[in-house]
Amino acid sequence: MTTTKSKVVYSPVFTDGAEFRIPTFKLLKQDGKLYKSAKAPDLDKDKALRIYRAMVTTRILDERMLAAQRQGRLSFYMQCTGEEAAVIGSAAALDDGDMIMAQYREQGALAYRGFTIDEFMNQLFGNEMDYGKGRQMPVHYGSSKLNYMTISSPLATQIPQAAGYAYGQKLRGEGLCTITYFGEGAASEGDFHAALNMAAVHRVPVIFLCRNNGYAISTPAAEQFAADGVAPRAYGYKMDVIRVDGNDILAMYQATQEARKLAVEHNRPVLIEAMSYRLAAHSSSDDPSGYRSKDEEAVWREKDPILRMRLWLESKKWWSEDDEKQLQENMRREVLETMKRAQKRPPPPLETLVSDVYDEVPPALAEQFDKLKAHIRRYPDEYPKSAEHAKGGA
């Protein structure tokens, strides 16, 4: 028996999917005014300002940390410049108890949830206060307190995990959902397709949020897929989908709010495709001048999502020139001070080499560790970071 009920035809009819033209949802114009027939979502002043502060914080953090990388103070960094509204607008529409499973460019969601500058810095410098114990490269943040799953570098692996996590939330009747972020490049991975299918079949309360920023390192979206973006794929899995102007904070907020309702109240997984642009380089190791033009970037610089939100806030008299100046100054100072503090903190203890591999250190590994300590004690000058730690014990 087949579950497909389709119309029968008596001559070959091919369809190419071009009929699935997906509209883009927008509310806010670049001058901070709403489109004519648009209506702003229900967003009070406090929340709007919390969103805005997170956007500015993220932007300043990105600027300062890229500069720090250029000065050789930091090994690596990744910015989210240009995509702040897509990430923070969606994160703000969630319940704080909802799980976030991000790709790596979503520091804005963490900032919105209240990750402190100190916490960011400790991870970036991999010091003894880093929750990840100095094991991962910079920007691989995680916080159990803030329901933000620690980042894993292999792309798209978090997407099916998000479906599984959300299924668990459904079974427990928590009234919560999971959101997972990924780029349009990562959406090519098998894991993405597996995740959508699993979620649709099992009616999982999960929001798949694709940040379509036009590039996967140097590969433009046109070489990533032949279709009209990522959104039409949802049809194949019978999933709800919406495409949103990713630089429009109000549209992102409202679309995610509605998506969350579908997910939590109706157990319908949802795909959101946020259309934006990666204004910065892919990472501090990348040079975009090799694969795209300054003119192309300039077009998108005009669509700055932070400025767009600021103009809207000012039109509502919720924000002023003075407020802006103060926030900028305070943030810049805080970032610099915390960076200095984080840099001075010692590295994680030597034991972190062998802890957390299993719940307990297995005997063979313990033996390897003892040998290592003895070795370091014989050459303390060669291992300045850990010589002190190697003194203790066997």
Partner: protein, 325 residues
């Protein structure tokens, strides 16, 4: 002869192969205009066109599955996996498909033209997802060849050897050496044989065996050991699968001692296979236990990378211990 770093040598090898044979194609993530994130494929698209050198969508299983199909059809694909850590999404295509194409079809079909290139190894502050050495996983799979070069000259010759070999071959490039290792490279086409180790230095007291970036580590350790009056024989294995038992065993018959080193974890690492085989072959000649100097049985760390890596000091200690046993 031209002075090149390892990336230039690899680029030159690809250029040489593509110029000679229209069936050679190279593709992978960011491989096209950009020339790959490490620039190993620079200018190839400009030179040979988009049909033969191109960006793929971001899907490793797709890249290798596609390459398997191409190779089965008679093309000579050289697929790039951006980092060896990201070869695992393609594990099924490599282990179940590439490796078994010929065997399962009774040689009706094969993917012998396939070469998979991937930067691998640590020492670049890459943490657990940009530092792995996955050669042992693949070494457990009959049907594959696994090659690792140690410098630019070897990189060009072995890569051309791999491209022209009639078996699916994994070519792991020690990325720590990409720009660090510079040397004279012949301009013409030359192919180094797969499956043959190279004796880099003769000696009488102990045999040192490694591959890739570990050869530099061995060299430094040997320098120190020779100052102590220990005579070392140094062998670069070059091909992990199938490996050159003969050359290693002959060396151990002479020296009576063997130290093997690799970056991957100890347990299940390829040094274990070597130790077992040499112990079988050379039991009566051994003067001390075969020593393994490897990474620890942990994922690769970031901040404590130096502690984790099997560096020259650890290799030097192993040489001393082996001789003083």
């Amino acid at each position: 002869m031209t002075k090149m770093n390892m990336l230039q040598a690899i680029n030159n090898a690809l250029d040489t192969a593509m110029a000679e044979d229209e069936r050679v194609l190279c593709f992978g993530e960011d491989v096209g205009v950009f020339g790959g994130v490490f620039r190993a494929t620079s200018n190839l698209q400009q030179k040979y066109g988009k049909a033969r050198c191109f960006n793929t969508p971001l899907v490793e299983q797709g890249i290798i599955g596609f390459a398997n199909g191409l190779a089965a059809q008679g093309s000579v694909p050289v697929a790039e996996i951006q980092f060896a850590d990201y070869i695992f999404p393609a594990f099924d295509q490599i282990v179940n498909e590439s490796a078994k194409f010929r065997y399962r079809s009774g040689n009706l079909f094969n993917v012998g033209g396939l070469t998979i290139r991937a930067p691998y190894g640590g020492g670049i502050a890459g943490g657990l997802y940009h530092s792995q050495s996955p050669e042992a996983y693949f070494a457990h799979t009959p049907g594959l060849k696994i090659v690792v070069p140690r410098n630019p000259h070897q990189a060009k010759g072995l890569l051309l050897g791999a491209i022209h070999d009639s078996n699916p071959t994994l070519f792991f490039e020690p990325k720590r050496l990409y720009r660090a290792s510079v040397g004279e490279v012949p301009d013409e086409d030359y192919r180094l044989p797969l499956g043959e180790a190279e004796v880099l230095k003769e000696g009488t007291d102990v045999t040192l065996l490694g591959w890739g970036a570990q050869m530099e580590v061995i060299e430094k350790a040997v320098e120190a050991a020779e100052k102590d009056g220990i005579s070392c024989e140094v062998i670069d294995l070059r091909t992990i699968l199938p490996w050159d038992v003969e050359t290693v065993a002959n060396s151990v018959f002479k020296t009576g001692r063997l130290v093997v080193t690799h970056e991957a974890p100890l347990t299940g690492g390829f040094a274990g296979e070597i130790a077992a085989t040499i112990q079988e072959r050379c039991f009566l000649y051994l003067e001390s236990p075969i020593a393994r100097v490897t990474g620890m049985d942990t994922p690769f760390p970031l901040v404590l990378e130096k502690e984790h890596l099997p560096n020259h000091l650890k290799v030097y200690e192993a040489i001393r211990a082996s001789v003083e046993f």
